[in-house]
Symmetry: C2
Subunit: 250 residues, 2 copies
Amino acid sequence: MRPAEPTGSRKNDRGKPRSSRPVPSLQGLTEMAARERAYHDLRYRILTGRLAPGTTLLETELAALLSLSRTPVREAVIKLAEEGLVEVRPRHGVTVKALSLQDFGNILDVFSALEVRAFELTAERGLRIEDVRRLGRMLDEMENATAVGDITRWSELDDEFHSEVVALCGNQRLQTAINAFWGQQYRARLMILPLRPMPVESNDEHRSTFAALQAGDRALTRERHNAHRDRADRQQLDLLRRSLGSNGLA
Amino acid sequence: MRPAEPTGSRKNDRGKPRSSRPVPSLQGLTEMAARERAYHDLRYRILTGRLAPGTTLLETELAALLSLSRTPVREAVIKLAEEGLVEVRPRHGVTVKALSLQDFGNILDVFSALEVRAFELTAERGLRIEDVRRLGRMLDEMENATAVGDITRWSELDDEFHSEVVALCGNQRLQTAINAFWGQQYRARLMILPLRPMPVESNDEHRSTFAALQAGDRALTRERHNAHRDRADRQQLDLLRRSLGSNGLA
DNA sequence: CGAATCGGCAATGTATACATAGCTGACCGA
DNA sequence: TCGGTCAGCTATGTATACATTGCCGATTCG
């Protein structure tokens, strides 16, 4: 009846800003508390497609799947439902949500609004020299990736760049909100990744936003990053629309 | 051992847009499921100050307070913690969070970014005639309230106007996110309400935003509402700073 | 043959039981 | 007297038990 594993570490991880993307990686899964374990594990499976959209499972089944009792699983499921990754239908189990095109658009709208604000705040706070260097290196690498046609690598770096700037915004609540919505767009992004054209425009826009950030110009940063997001979001929606004919799951 | 009350109604209220603010009113509290009951009840008590910042209670005490078992109370508390209204310290109970000036600033930053986006979307969708009429009436009433110096009434209408426009944005996720952050700024707003000068500027800005909305001009709406929020947020922060000397609770 | 109602069943929501971990305070040793 | 360690207690986290609710299917009536 030992509830959790060895449980050597703290579970209450309200740490400092933490720039890490809320991404699949799932290293120290065994050393978390059960609730967190359930949450991260399920989230991971959903985001990577291991639990496909439409999949429906009972709370009991999930608990069995994770070797836990229903209580922590249930708490994790509630959280996932609040994030919009699953839907709980009272008598029918929890279903991994399929993202319609409209859902994806809605998510991007929220996500972009938040990210632009984060960029603004970062601009206002100003970048330290080491931040400038690090971000600059990322942009260099992205351009390299573009040059050699490695769009997967490019996409990773893109995420990293964005989340790095967000991490510098100094507003923990904003960051948390962004992370939640980030998770939702991730699946769709993955899907259309291979379809994307080489992101020359994005590279240019990044450079231009970066310049505004360096200059500490909030208004300019807002304007430029907003334009970038608008265009990129539209492009992504187009790709998605084309790739699933407006009906499909992500 | 009867879990919930008569429970005549649905708890899975993923209904249509619903313009209702997530406000204290708490009518049909008895007919909800226990978890929702706990959540709304606690939230109500916190937002209205009945549970003052700094108050610390054990899960058991909360359960007793609400005449429920720990399970639904715990789930509600987790939700409140995610919203940032309380803090759960593993061995010390749940504490109603005090909002520092910085917290309040952070909250406003997120809230404003989201609200501006919602206004943009509403502009893009366009207002129906009845919406125009309703919103117009609200603005009239607000100006009346200003004229007779009824700032409480003005503030209610202000909330109503904003949430009404948000409700028309057509993005449920955005609305949900806004509501969560709305709850957090509410307490501080209440506090500074009596200190506010008569909001002539706000009235003008509302009119101007309203015009942009009517025109269906997304960019203009963004610009104007963003300016409004910027100014209003700054003003509120100033008032708060003055009223509690930068340390205090809200 | 179709539709409506009733009964059984199973999944959830809630309550409770239980075990662990961390804090408090006391006692012992220096 | 002060500091350190250990033991006990209590709050939480997890597991389990239990009751309700709502669906599905079967049966019966029109």
